[in-house]
């Protein structure tokens, strides 16, 4: 009985790690699916029971590690409400696509938390991974309806943090973004029982 409990126990830190791992794979997946970087710079990796592609570009890797380590800390402290992966036209800085990853904070398993004297969740890791896999498959499927990016594009990740959050070194405040004539598509959500991740893609609808 006690073994069962320890098996299904997810700490806040572990949950934040799961979220950040999901963000890493999701961002890489979007970069690959939307063709922002050449496909030969991506390497196939087995995760969540499906094959996902991870960029081998050193710059992207560095950027993501910097971003995700800081984000994990913020998620732990409940400072972040949303992360937005924006895809913009390099020539005129127009925002073409925005992938919003909304983070919501949940209470987890109250009884188990009391027992452990620490906030924990009791969701089965396999089930979480199953949910993440469903979202990933949806992300891969978005290519069928998202408009074709025919210009030179780049990406950036905006973190919507609380106002009382300090700005660390290497970070800067950014302008809020808006997509003209935007179309929103809500993808599936998943939850670790401590964090709920909602993925929304909004794109500029071609006239």
């Amino acid at each position: 009985m006690s073994q069962q409990q320890t098996k299904n126990c997810i700490t806040l830190k572990g949950s934040a790690q799961i979220i950040c791992e999901y963000l890493k794979y999701a961002i890489n997946s979007v970069l690959f699916q939307r063709g922002l970087y050449p496909p030969e710079t991506f390497k196939a990796e087995q995760q969540y029971g499906i094959t996902l592609l991870i960029s081998e570009d050193q710059q992207i890797k560095n950027f993501l590690t910097n971003l995700l380590t800081q984000s994990e800390e913020w998620i732990l402290n409940k400072k972040v409400s949303k992360l937005s992966l924006i895809i913009l036209n390099v020539a005129n800085k127009e925002i073409l696509e925005c992938w919003d990853f909304n983070v919501q904070y949940e209470d987890g398993d109250a009884a188990l938390s009391k027992e452990k004297n620490e906030k924990v969740g009791s969701k089965d890791l396999k089930k979480i991974q199953q949910e993440i896999r469903d979202v990933m498959l949806q992300v891969a499927a978005t290519i069928s309806y998202l408009p074709f990016l025919d210009c030179r594009c780049s990406f950036d990740v905006l973190v919507h943090a609380k106002t009382d959050c300090d700005i660390p070194e290497k970070w800067a405040e950014a302008e809020p973004i808006a997509i003209t004539n935007a179309q929103n598509v809500q993808l599936k959500t998943f939850s670790t029982s401590l964090h709920k991740m909602e993925t929304v893609v909004s794109y500029k609808l071609a006239d």
Binding site: Q59, I60, F63, N66, L67, S81, K82, I86, L88, V90, A91, K93, R152, S154, F155, D156, V157, L158, V159, H160, A161, K162, T163, C165, I167, K170, W171, A172, E173, A174, E175, P176, A178, I179, T180, N181, A182
Partner: protein, 711 residues
């Protein structure tokens, strides 16, 4: 009374006994006859019963002191016997009771014995059955055993026979072995003799060997002595060798000294030779000294000549300078001369032109230059006015073109309208067509009605002619006809109305509606765009209000990097453009261009040379192939090769081959059909093209040589 009662009781007690005895006896007899084994137990039972009986008798005897007494008493006085005493009665009762108990005991025992017997009987019967079975089994076994015995007996007989034969053989073998033994003993004896002999001989040999050994030992001792002597000698020799080496070193030293001395000697000789040379030189110097005076004279002469030569040289230099100045002057004058020439030519030409001008002026009636200038002024002014007119005209033309453009635009509009109208007209035409058709139908109807009317009228006339009573009916009909015609007229009017007015009206209405709708749509579109923008703004605002967040991002993000790179690229491109533009302004042919051209020229020449080299080497290769292998190979097309032999009689004799994926194949030609044998032998059987070709060469060669020899 008591006695009688006792007696009856006694009888009662005895009764079962008797019954038992009566019933048991025949049963026992039966069982005895059936089973002999149980006779003993039955007998014992019988004995038991008899003893019982006797005891009872005894008891009865006790009742009366003796049977004889009793008999006596009975015989004495049957009715008046002494009455038994109460003690006796008591005792009798006790005995009786004991007897009864014994009887019951015995009865139980008998019953028990009976049951045992029955059980035993059952057991014995079972055993009997089993024994009978065993007996049968034993009988069977016995018969088997008998059979086996017979077999064994037969075998025994056979074995006995074999034994006899074996014994015989054994005896024979024994005889043989005895003979062999005797032979072997004889051999042993012989061998022993031989052994003795050999022992003797070996002893002799041994003694000989010993002698040899002794001799050898003696020789060895001698040799050792010799060795010692030789060692001594060796030591002596070594000492000598040492002496020799010392001597040699001395000798070497001496030879070295000798060489030194000889070197010194050579040096001395060389010095001597040099001294001799010096002596000769001294002699010659003395001779020269004697010639000195003559030489001095000569020197004076030569100095004079030198002075004269120097003077002449200075003169020459002066002259050269003068010549140089003159040449420069000449060079300076030459262009002047040329100019002079040119000027002369020009003057001539100018004079001629002036003449021409003058002539022209004369023709125009102008004699003076002033009049000419005035005429020119007037001409210029006229030109100016013309130019002004021209500009005006151009502006006008521009205006006109603009007007034309506007007109064209209008025309396009008009054409579009026209097209619309044409489509409308077409519709109308189709309508008209339909209406005409209808009209036709109506007219036909009307005609048919008229015909009918005519018919009626005729009928009426007939009827009137037939019977004058139908006049009223005819009037009715006429009225009807009139009514119908009126209706027709009204229809026609309706048709006409339909034809024109409503159509045009409807069209105009429709057009107005369409334009209205279009305007509305455009307005709606504008509104939608406005609303969308507003919605977005509001959404943004709402988001801001909903969650007071600030947006952070990594300063070093890929988008910024990409933008920077883009900026850099743009700048570099602009700079390059500037550079190129500057280069263009400076002039097309820069140094780099020339270099490139030169390179191009070089490469062209190289290419040309390479081509030449290639063609020559290819030709050489072909020639060598032809000379060595006797075949000229021509490529007649893609993967097609034609080869002709060196010894071929005519140029028509050639073979063709094609290169296919799995080798090379020969294609049939007129010539190849004449080589059936060779083809069959070398291509179909040997499957080797080289052999075929060599064979062909051989054949052609022999044929030619044969012809030559025949010639």
């Amino acid at each position: 009374m008591a006695k009688e009662g006792d007696m009856s009781l006694f009888n009662d007690v005895l009764e079962p006994f008797r019954r038992v005895i009566n019933t048991d006896l025949p049963k026992d007899k039966l069982s005895a006859s059936a089973k002999l084994n149980f006779s003993d137990s039955n007998q014992s039972i019988k004995e038991g019963s008899t003893t019982l009986f006797s005891s009872i008798k005894r008891k009865s005897g006790l009742e009366s002191p003796t049977p004889e007494k009793r008999i006596r008493t009975e015989s004495g006085s049957n009715s008046n016997g002494p009455p038994p005493s109460p003690w006796e009665a008591k005792r009798l009762k006790i005995d009786l009771i004991a007897a009864k108990a014994q009887i019951t005991k015995l009865e139980a025992r008998v019953n028990h014995q009976h049951t045992i017997r029955k059980e035993m009987q059952i057991l014995f019967e079972e055993e009997k059955a089993s024994l009978i079975e065993q007996h049968k089994h034993d009988e069977r076994a016995l018969s088997d055993m008998e059979d086996r015995l017979k077999l064994i007996r037969r075998r025994e007989l056979e074995i006995k026979e074999e034994y006899n034969t074996a014994i015989k053989e054994h005896k024979e073998a024994k005889l043989k072995w005895e003979k062999d033994r005797s032979d072997l003993q004889k051999q042993i004896a012989e061998l022993k003799d031989k052994l003795l002999e050999s022992d003797v001989s070996s002893k002799d040999q041994l003694s000989e060997m010993k002698r040899d050994m002794d001799e050898l030992l003696q020789a060895l001792e001698g040799a050792q002595q010799e060795v010692q002597i030789l060692k001594k000698e060796v030591s002596k020799q070594t000492s000598r060798a040492e002496q020799c080496s010392t001597l040699r070193s001395q000798l070497e030293k001496q030879t070295f000294e000798l060489q030194q001395i000889t070197n010194k000697l050579k040096e001395l000789e060389y010095e001597k030779d040099s001294y001799k040379d010096w002596q000769q030189q001294v002699k010659t110097a003395q001779k020269r000294l004697t010639n000195m005076a003559e030489l001095e004279k000569e020197v004076g002469r030569l100095r004079a000549t030198e002075r004269s030569l120097r003077d002449s040289v200075s003169n020459k230099l002066l002259l050269e300078e003068q010549v140089h100045i003159l040449t420069t002057k000449v060079e300076a004058l030459q262009p002047v001369q040329q100019e002079l020439h040119d000027a002369k030519v020009k003057i001539a030409s100018l004079e001629s032109t002036l003449e021409e001008w003058k002539n022209v002026a004369r023709t125009h009636g102008i004699e003076n230059a002033r009049s000419l200038s005035s005429a020119l002024d007037s001409a210029l002014s006229s030109q100016l006015t013309a130019v002004a007119g021209c500009s005006q005209a151009q502006s006008q033309s521009a205006q006109l073109t603009e007007e034309i453009a506007t007109v064209k635009f209008e025309r396009d509009k008009a054409t579009t309208k026209l097209n619309d109208l044409q489509t409308v007209r077409k519709n109308q035409e189709s309508l008209i067509h339909r209406l005409q058709k209808r009209l036709l139908l109506v007219t036909r109807e009307r005609d048919s009605y008229r015909q009918q009317l005519d018919c009626y009228e005729k009928e009426l006339t007939v009827s009137i002619s037939g019977a004058g009573e139908a006049a009223g009916g005819a009037a009715l009909l006429a009225a009807r006809v009139e009514q119908l015609e009126k209706a027709l007229q009204s229809y026609r009017d309706l048709l006409a109305l339909h034809d024109h007015e409503p159509n045009t009206k409807a069209l105009e209405l429709a057009r107005a509606e369409a334009s209205k709708y279009r305007e509305e749509a455009e307005a709606a579109k504008r509104e939608v765009a406005k609303l969308r923008a507003q919605r977005d703004q509001l959404q943004m605002h709402f988001e801001k209000l909903a969650a007071p967040t600030k947006i952070l991002h990594l300063a070093d993000n890929p988008a910024a990097a990409a933008q920077k790179q883009m900026q850099l690229e743009l700048e570099s491109a602009q700079e390059e453009i500037k550079k190129l533009k500057a280069a263009l302004r400076e002039g097309g042919s820069s140094a780099g261009d020339d270099a490139l051209r030169a390179q191009l020229e070089n490469s062209r020449i190289k290419l040309q040379r390479m081509k030449e080299e290639f063609t020559s080497s290819a030709q050489e290769y072909r020639d060598v192939c032809y000379m060595l292998l006797g075949y000229k190979i021509d490529r007649t097309g893609h993967k097609n090769y034609r080869i002709s032999n060196m010894y071929a009689e005519s140029s028509d004799e050639y073979l063709t081959f094609t290169l296919s994926d799995d080798g090379i194949e020969m294609v049939h030609t007129d010539y190849s059909t004449t080589l059936g044998d060779l083809v069959e032998l070398h291509l179909h059987q040997n499957r080797s093209i080289p052999v075929f070709l060599s064979a062909l060469t051989m054949e052609l060669f022999t044929r030619i040589t044969m012809q030559q020899t025949q010639c």
